[in-house]
Structure formats: structure tokens, C-alpha cells
């Protein structure tokens, strides 16, 4: 088990000073696959570097299995690591690259080579053992890097954007394979990535970072369905969630969100506490939670179609209220069979159990979330 408590990392340099990580708490269970996801500069790589021991936290504690490891040397942490550039040793053959961590542990050469061979078999690169890294393709190099990280049987595997240099198709294969191997070996794995699709697909839990802090740490579906705040909501999902500025109002026992373009009544089961009334909020709804309906359906809203984009699997429709008063367009997804064209007037409804209301103050807290 890995515990990060109250980690702060300050840089003091001429160009880059400030806090890269600012009070971070994280717990990772044994054998878990965790992703650190966030925009660039959010502190995710710094966190990984601190886990590896290449950087030291300014304050806070890192525990591996209950043991404080803040100042333990990287070599004494029993970690394997795969880098974005793969960082293979160019002067060594694949065999020597994979055996390098073993040889550093004073394992006899023959045994190390034997182990290297075994590991290379798992990753299906045993036919490349005598090559130099420069003679390998990107995908092969990635496998060698994985093999090198796994050969010493690490307790923790750290992956730093391991797939960002692969082409899209290969990425999918490698992603599945990494997941499979991780399951098989049961090694606690932490991956840093800026690719949300990758993070959501591969990991048990995802920590979303921004500004050096964890915004939400939860399994992928929960992040997607129950974002705790505006950042998580806007960061996850493609096309992104619609976030429409409005105001919460209560009149005659009804709670409504009043936006520039429409009025939406909160359904009975999802009413909010009275204290929230009058607040300026963002009304959030994902594009696939909006559907086109007929005019007579209760609660339907009239919209004007501005643009239709064909995505292949469906259509992305961008709509505006008829007066064009909304601050942003609303995106919605429909099937290919639906006939819509730019300029059409249509009626839409929001799925009653899928919308969110985010406070515009207080860190963008999700008001519909019951914590």
C-alpha cells in the first residue's frame, strides 16, 4: 500500500518557482492500477518523480507499506519505471537493457540473462534480444522498456506517459496488454497521463489533478457520472459537458434554474437545500444526456440548430436558444437516423437524473452531489 499525505513540492528556481504539488493526499491499495490524470503542469509528473525518489517532497510523507520512504534512494525502493521516451540505454543490447536492473542487484550474469529472457517472453520480444535499441520500432522499444521495468519483479510499477509516442492503433493494443500483464503479475501500478480515455480505460481508480491538488479520486464511472466539481466535469468527457451559466430560484414550491436562454425546473427527486437558492451556478449536462423530442413533451425546450457535425457513429448537434442569448452553444449527440439540419427549430429534453449544478464559487462544488 502506498500512502501520500499532505505532499508539498516547492521549486525554487529563477524561471520556475512556486508549488508544483500543493497538499496532495492519495492512497493506493496493493495490486491496484491507478492513473494520475490532469492537464500539463498539474503536478502529476512531479508526484510520480517523488514516488520514484528522484525528487524529494518539500513537506509531507510518503509511505510504502507503512514504511516512511521520503528520503529512501530510488535504487532502494524496488520500483520499475517506464518513461515517455522509453529511456533505453543506447549502448546496450536489448538483453543487457533488460538485465541491467538485475545486474545492478549483483545477480550473476547467467541468472540475469535467464530472467531477462523470461521477461522478454512475456512481452513477446524474445526474438529481439541481440538488437540495439536504435534498431527497434517505437512499439518494440516500448516493450523493451516495460520488460526492463518488470524484470526485477518490482513492488510498484510507475508509468510516465508510456504510450504517448505510439500511434493511435498501437496505443489500444499496448493499453490492453499493459492491463493484462498488470493483472497477471498483480503489481501495484501508477500511470501518469494526460489522455483521459487511456486513464479511464486502463485503471481501477483515477486521480484527477489540477493546480497541484487532487480534485477527485474515484473509479472511472464515478468520475464520469458524479464529478465533484466544475473542473472534473469540464475536464472529463469528449465532447465535453455543456456548462450553462444560470441562477437558482425558488418560487411557489418550484425550484428552477434560470439561464439566459431557458428555464429548467428541477425534478422532484433532485431538489436542493434551501440555502442554495439565489446562487449563480453552472448547469451541467453531457451531450448524450440531451435528447431531441417532440414539441408536446412536458418540459421540452425549443432550440435552434446552429451546426451539425457528423461523427460517424452519430451526429453532434450544436444548438442555441431561439433568441441566441445563451453564453455558449449547447452540444448534444443523436443517432445518425435523426434528421436535423442547421437552421431547424427543434425541441430537446434533459435526462432528469443526469444533470449537475455547480457552484460558481467555492471551488466549483457540485451541489447535486450528496457527500
Amino acid at each position: 500500500m502506498i500512502t501520500l499525505s499532505n505532499i508539498v513540492k516547492e521549486y525554487e528556481g529563477k524561471q520556475e518557482s512556486g508549488r508544483a504539488v500543493d497538499g496532495l493526499n492519495l492512497e493506493i491499495r496493493k495490486g491496484e492500477f491507478v492513473a494520475l490524470l490532469g492537464p500539463s503542469g498539474c503536478g502529476k509528473t512531479t508526484t510520480l518523480m517523488m514516488l520514484a525518489g528522484l525528487l524529494k517532497p518539500t513537506s509531507g510523507d510518503i509511505h510504502f507499506n507503512g514504511k516512511l520512504v521520503n528520503h529512501t534512494e530510488p535504487k532502494d525502493r524496488n520500483i520499475g519505471m517506464v518513461f515517455q521516451s522509453y529511456a533505453l540505454y543506447p549502448h546496450l543490447t536489448v538483453r543487457d537493457n533488460i538485465a541491467f536492473p538485475l545486474r545492478e542487484r549483483k545477480m550473476p550474469k547467467r541468472e540475469a540473462y535467464e530472467r531477462a529472457k523470461e521477461t522478454s517472453r512475456i512481452l513477446q520480444i524474445d526474438h529481439l534480444l541481440d538488437r540495439k535499441p536504435s534498431q527497434l520500432s517505437g512499439g518494440q522499444q516500448q516493450r523493451v522498456a516495460m520488460a526492463r521495468a518488470l524484470s526485477k519483479d518490482p513492488e510498484i510499477l510507475l508509468l510516465d506517459e508510456p504510450m504517448s509516442n505510439l500511434d493511435a492503433r498501437l496505443k489500444l493494443d499496448v493499453r490492453d496488454e499493459i492491463r493484462k500483464i498488470q493483472r497477471k503479475l498483480g503489481v501495484t501500478t501508477i500511470i501518469v497521463t494526460h489522455d483521459q480515455e487511456e486513464a479511464l480505460a486502463i485503471s481501477d481508480r483515477v486521480a484527477i489533478l489540477n493546480g497541484g491538488r487532487i480534485q477527485q479520486y474515484a473509479p472511472p464511472h464515478e468520475l464520469f457520472n458524479h464529478p465533484v466539481n466544475l473542473f472534473v466535469a469540464s475536464f472529463l468527457g469528449s465532447p465535453p459537458m455543456n456548462l450553462i451559466l444560470g441562477q437558482l430560484q425558488e418560487s411557489g414550491g418550484r425550484q428552477i434554474v434560470l439561464t439566459e436562454g431557458f428555464e429548467y425546473e428541477l425534478p422532484a427527486g433532485r431538489r436542493l437545500e434551501k440555502e442554495h437558492m439565489g446562487k449563480t451556478v453552472r448547469f451541467g449536462i453531457r451531450p448524450h444526456d440531451i435528447s431531441i423530442c417532440s414539441a408536446d413533451q412536458p418540459g421540452s425546450l425549443r432550440m435552434k440548430v446552429d451546426l451539425v457535425e457528423h461523427l460517424g457513429s452519430g451526429k453532434l448537434v450544436k444548438v442555441m436558444d431561439p433568441e441566441g442569448k445563451l453564453d455558449t452553444m449547447i452540444r448534444l449527440l443523436t443517432g445518425n437516423e435523426v434528421q436535423v439540419e442547421a437552421g431547424d427549430d427543434i425541441y430537446v429534453t434533459f435526462k432528469a437524473d443526469k444533470f449537475h449544478l455547480f457552484d460558481t464559487e467555492n471551488g466549483g462544488l457540485n451541489l447535486t452531489q450528496h457527500v
Partner: protein, 276 residues
């Protein structure tokens, strides 16, 4: 004829004109060394220095072979010292943090561009005080100090190019910082070490000034110092045959060496200079 070929022709003509003196120089060395000056016949009499000590314009110099040995020993020692001092220094400047690094780095730069030769009078006296005049150690130390800043600078450039990923990987894979330096970084910068070795060797091989100033025994000279004795003896050279013959013997190996390593010489860049 198109304007393009005309232009090319023009460029070639100019360049050939510029290059002619250099070609003439090379041809002359061969001719002067192998032709009898008076008869114009081919002869190898100028190469008698292989067998007997040289006597020229009243200077008597020892047989050349021990001098050749001195040259090789001296040159390789310089290469060895410069590599073994500049590589760790450049590594520290490029990759380690220590107090005073910025100041030290600025001083290194000052030294690199500042001509140490202007301090030679005082250097001489310091060597006298240390009893290092007329010893190889003295020449070695002064020569190495003079060229080290340049070597360190080039090497630092090579270390700067090593991706941090590689060093991180080595640390995670079980190396200490020193282990990573030895097992991963040094192999990575081998081309740089090759380059500075070539520069060191050529510098040492051509060093005549320090031998003229600091070495008084003729049998301790290197080939450069040996030739300098002959060339600076009189304002006017009396026997070109002998001097070019020795010169040819001395220069040919490094010309061959140069032709094989010439790519290295194009690698020197401005490094940290702005906007280049």
C-alpha cells in the same frame, strides 16, 4: 550554358584560387623533402635523420627516435589527463547542483576566452618555485590547465544533451548517482570524449612554445620542440630539404589521422551563445 552552371563555375574558380596556396603548400612539402635542392633529382638523402643525429646551422640535436617516443608519450599523457579531468568536471557542471556552481561556471567561461598566455611570465616563476622547470610535469600541468576550460566546455555541451530520462532510468534501475555516471552517461557521451581526445592530441602534438620556454635539455624535446629549435635558429632557413623532411615525417601521421576524423572538427559549435 545555363546561368546556373555558369554560377557554379564561377564559385569553383574562386574557391580553387583560394585553395591553391594550400595545395601548393602540400605539394611543396613533398617536393622539398624528396628532391635534391641543387640537382632537382629525386633523392631520399634528406631523410638521413632517421639514422643519424641532426646537425644544422651549428645546432646539434639528438637522434630522432627518442624524440618520437617523447612526442607520443607526451601527447597521450595530455589526452589522458585532459579527458580524465574534463569529463568529471563537465559532468558536475552539467548535471549536479552545488553551492557556487553559477560563479564557478562564469569563471570557467572567463578562463575559456581569456588568453592564459598573457600570464606566462608569472607562470614561469611559479614553476621555478615549485622546481618544475625543465620537467615534463611542469609542461604537462601548464599545458593541461590552458586547454582544460575549452575541453570542459565542449564536454558540458555533450552532457547537456543526455536526456534526463536516461539518468532517471538508471537511478530507478538500481544505480547510485555515480553508478549512473559511469555506466550510462559516460557511454552516452563517448562521441564527445572522442572529439576532445582528438583536439587534445593535436594540441599536444603541435606544442612547441612551452618546450622552448620550459625544457632546456634537447633529449627531452618532442618533435614540435625539436623542429622549433631548427626553425627559430636563424631568420632564414638554410636547408629546406632537411626541415621539410622532418616536417613531413612529423606531419603526415596527423594528416592521415585528420582525414579520418575530419567530421569531428565540424561539430564544434557556439554552445550557449545567444540565438545561434
Amino acid at each position: 550554358m545555363s546561368t546556373r552552371t555558369l554560377k557554379q563555375l564561377l564559385v569553383h574558380t574562386y574557391l580553387t584560387l583560394f585553395t591553391l596556396p594550400i595545395i601548393a603548400m602540400i605539394v611543396w612539402y613533398f617536393l622539398a623533402a624528396t628532391l635534391n635542392f641543387t640537382t632537382g633529382q629525386f633523392s631520399l638523402e634528406n631523410f638521413s635523420f632517421f639514422r643519424e643525429p641532426v646537425e644544422y646551422a651549428g645546432v646539434e640535436l639528438p637522434l630522432i627516435w627518442p624524440i618520437v617516443l617523447n612526442t607520443l608519450v607526451y601527447s597521450f599523457l595530455i589526452v589522458f589527463l585532459e579527458v580524465f579531468i574534463s569529463v568529471p568536471t563537465a559532468y558536475a557542471f552539467s548535471r549536479l547542483d552545488f553551492k557556487g556552481k553559477n560563479a564557478a561556471m562564469k569563471f570557467l567561461f572567463l578562463m575559456r576566452s581569456f588568453p592564459g598566455i598573457t600570464l606566462i611570465i608569472a607562470t614561469f616563476f611559479i614553476l621555478v618555485q615549485m622546481h618544475l622547470v625543465n620537467t615534463y610535469l611542469g609542461v604537462l600541468l601548464v599545458a593541461v590547465t590552458g586547454s582544460l576550460p575549452g575541453r570542459v566546455y565542449i564536454m558540458k555541451g555533450f552532457f547537456d544533451e543526455v536526456p534526463w530520462d536516461i539518468e532517471w532510468a538508471a537511478m530507478v534501475d538500481g544505480c547510485t548517482r555515480y553508478g549512473a555516471f559511469k555506466k550510462v552517461l559516460v557511454p552516452f557521451v563517448l562521441p564527445g570524449i572522442g572529439a576532445i581526445s582528438v583536439f587534445s592530441f593535436l594540441g599536444a602534438y603541435g606544442e612547441w612554445f612551452l618546450f622552448k620556454l620550459l625544457i632546456f635539455n634537447d633529449d627531452m624535446l618532442t618533435l614540435a620542440g625539436y623542429l622549433a629549435r631548427l626553425v627559430t635558429k636563424e631568420d632564414q632557413i638554410l636547408n629546406y630539404g632537411l626541415i621539410t623532411a622532418i616536417g613531413l615525417f612529423y606531419t603526415l601521421p596527423i594528416i592521415v589521422f585528420y582525414i579520418f576524423t575530419q567530421k569531428v572538427f565540424m561539430k564544434v559549435n557556439l554552445g550557449g551563445a545567444k540565438q545561434v
